[in-house]
């Protein structure tokens, strides 16, 4: 949890910094824009007043101008006015005379009044102001000014507003950051918890999915799908390991028996030889089983795909037909072939040869004498279809999915020699080529159909093709 807490702290800090920075930028902008426009407005006002006062003076003389100043001071004017003579003597206004400066100026003023009783006097402190001065032809100086206190008050208000707002934002950011990152981490922690449960052996544990479709949810769904896949692979691996262990016990027991016989009860060289020959035969059978298993594993690893090339399957199937017609005949079967010429697919020649061989041999070995076997290859639309049809006993429907599994053997064929790997190998080869296998009832008999779809003949995409039985090859994929 330490890592999680530090992540919370980091995320929250980041959140707060971002919030504070955005508030600060906003503040600076408002501050700058407001000050500028207020200053400009004030300046325009003071200039207008100063100029109009000067105009009045020029037009009507000092007395009228002084009267105008008084009127303005009493109602609706600016904060400060001053009319002074060339020698600096005060004429009218409410501030003390200053040394004349023309145009806009920042200045500090002191209130000034000339009462009849009190005489001239200044009042109060210096105040900050901006003003506009005009010097007339006779040396009279006119000044209109405005207190900047209003500007400062506005600035202060802005500052206060932003301080309070910023503070509240930061607090909200801290709370929000904590809440968001804690929520995020809670979900990460749920993934962690699931991972720990699985590590502890609880393999069916899964990450909770909230069904709101966000990224974390999709991550959880993907993790679950991955776990499902791994679990099914592990189960099939477990299944295969126990199948291997189970199926190899019998030949190993027979091997041991042969060796024991040779050791204990063989009296003549002939007897000894026959026991050891039998032992060697058992060993060979075991080795064959192992090499078939390795071959399946190697095919399933998909590495052979790299060597795919155009294969003339017609020529290849003709060879198989020719080879096994004689074998079938010797065993009392009839093998007829119907092979369309000139069909090529992208694949592995050696493996396709083995696929055809296994299918035909399977039909020969697991049907009674007198069975008619048909071996066909043809094109349907753009799919290439290889079919082996027999009129033998067939495979019960509920068993059809299982015969593609390693070591699976029908009750009826338990006694015939074989490893139960032939069809598993066919399934692996078909899958490598993106082909689907269908086992169909032929009433009586069995149709095995391998369909190489047109689309996947160049780019094999295993397990995407609809097959008519529930026999999904992918289920048995391991290693």
């Amino acid at each position: 949890m330490q890592l999680a807490s530090s992540l919370i702290a980091r995320l929250t800090t980041l959140y707060v910094i971002l919030f504070a920075a955005s508030v600060a930028i906003l503040f600076a902008l408002v501050w700058f824009v407001t000050s500028r426009s207020m200053t400009a407005q004030l300046m325009a006002n003071v200039q207008r007043e100063a100029v109009s006062l000067a105009d009045e003076y020029r037009a009507t003389g000092a007395a009228a101008a002084a009267a105008l100043v008084e009127r303005r001071l009493q109602r609706g004017g600016l904060a400060y006015y001053l009319l002074q003579r060339r020698d600096g003597a005060w004429i009218a206004g409410n501030i003390a005379p200053v040394s004349p400066v023309l145009g806009p100026l920042d200045l500090q003023v002191r209130l000034f009044s000339r009462g009849e009783a009190a005489g001239e006097r200044t009042q109060g402190d210096l105040r900050n102001a901006i003003g506009y001065g005009v010097l007339l032809g006779d040396g009279t100086f006119v000044l209109a000014g405005e207190d900047v206190g209003r500007l400062q008050a506005t600035r202060k208000a802005i500052l206060t507003a932003f301080s309070v707002g910023g503070g509240v934002s930061v607090i909200l950011a801290i709370l929000g950051g904590l809440a968001l990152s804690a929520g995020f981490l809670r979900r990460v922690e749920s993934v962690n918890r699931t991972a720990r449960q699985i590590m502890a052996g609880q393999l069916d544990s899964r990450v909770t999915v909230r069904d709101n479709g966000d990224e974390l949810d999709r991550l959880a769904a993907n993790l679950n799908a991955m776990l499902d896949r791994i679990q099914s692979l592990m189960e099939s691996l477990k299944q295969v390991s126990s199948d291997i262990a189970h199926d190899l016990r019998t030949p190993l027991a027979r091997l041991r028996q042969n060796l024991e016989t040779a050791k204990l009860s063989a009296r003549t060289v002939e007897e000894f030889r026959s026991s050891t020959d039998a032992a060697i035969a058992e060993t060979d059978a075991l080795l064959k089983t192992f090499s078939a298993l390795l071959r399946i594993a190697q095919i399933e690893s998909g590495s052979r795909k790299a060597g795919f090339a155009r294969v003339d399957v017609s020529e290849l199937f003709e060879l198989v037909a020719l080879t096994f017609a004689a074998v079938a005949e010797d065993q009392g079967h009839q093998l007829v072939s119907d092979i369309q010429g000139g069909i090529t697919i992208s694949g592995d020649r050696e493996l396709l040869l083995q696929l055809a061989t296994n299918l035909v041999e399977n039909a020969i070995r697991h049907t009674p004498s007198g069975t008619k076997i048909e071996f066909r290859l043809h094109k349907e639309m753009d799919d290439v279809i290889a079919t082996v049809v027999d009129n033998g006993p067939g495979i019960p429907e509920q068993e059809r999915g299982k015969v593609l599994r390693r070591f699976y053997r029908l009750e009826a064929s338990r006694t015939t020699p074989g490893s139960g790997l032939g069809l598993a190998l066919v399934a692996a080869i078909a899958d490598l080529h993106g082909a689907g296998i269908a086992l169909i009832d032929h009433g009586p008999g069995l149709i095995v159909e391998v369909r190489f779809p047109a689309s996947s003949r160049s780019v094999a995409q295993p397990s995407k093709n609809a097959v008519r039985t529930s026999a999904r090859i992918a289920i048995y994929k391991i290693v």
Binding site: K288, S291, R295, G307, T323, A326, R365
Partner: protein, 228 residues
């Protein structure tokens, strides 16, 4: 023959050396890649039997090095890797044949013999003749004692292979590989079936049998009197 065995497993090396010596060959054994390479490059051998996995220098690397040094001695590669790609890799590296452990000694012997006396590529041969058996490769016709014999294309191929290898033994596996292109074990008696049909056509009705079954599950085509 002078045979070089490069094999690190002592038991296998002894088994090979003993068997080959019993057949009358002179055998040198190297138990690692470096010594093997030294012998292979420095001395003259008729055949080399090389294990694929070796300490010092890997078997494949050794074959490549030997070949790039211009040594043309036939090489039989031994391996525990029965994988399909491994065989191709071995042949591509420059070995001439490939045998997966474990194997029967007769199988090894047959392959060593086939390698040692592999004829230089006979381009001009259009007919093969053994005793009164004649094969016309151009017209795909077979005659024995002047009488035409009808063979299926497979039987023709099988007979051609036996005739080219005479008087050497060819094993069932060699026939499967070289005639059928099957690099796997069929579960039915493919070779036996076709061989018995071929014998029926070639030998049946003739006093002198040409095709013989050899001990260790192999076949040989030869004139009985001409044996060693």
């Amino acid at each position: 023959m002078r045979i070089l065995v490069i094999e690190d497993d002592r038991q296998t090396a002894q088994y090979l050396a003993k068997g080959l010596r019993q057949q009358g060959h002179v055998v040198e054994v190297a138990d690692n890649g470096r010594d093997g390479l030294f012998l292979a490059a420095g001395e003259k051998f008729d055949v080399m039997v090389v294990d694929r996995m070796l300490p010092g220098l890997d078997g494949l690397g050794l074959v490549k090095t030997v070949r790039s040094a211009g040594v043309k001695t036939p090489i039989l590669l031994l391996t525990t890797l029965g994988g399909i790609d491994d065989r191709v890799e071995g042949l591509e590296a420059g070995s001439d044949d490939y045998l997966v452990k474990p194997f029967a000694f007769a199988e090894l012997m047959a392959r060593v013999n086939a390698l040692a006396r592999r004829p230089p590529i006979a381009g001009a041969d259009t007919t093969l003749k053994i005793a009164d058996l004649e094969m016309d490769l151009l017209r795909r016709k077979v005659r024995r004692a002047g009488a035409d014999i009808e063979l299926t294309p497979l039987e023709f191929k099988l007979l051609e292979h036996l005739m080219r290898q005479t008087p050497r033994i060819v094993t069932r596996t060699m026939l499967l590989e070289q005639v059928w292109g099957f690099h796997f074990d069929p579960k039915t008696s493919v070779v036996e079936t076709h061989m018995s049909r071929l014998r029926g056509k070639i030998d049946k009705g003739f006093a002198c049998e040409l095709i013989h079954t050899a001990r260790g599950s192999g076949y040989v085509l030869r004139v009985p009197d001409a044996t060693r």
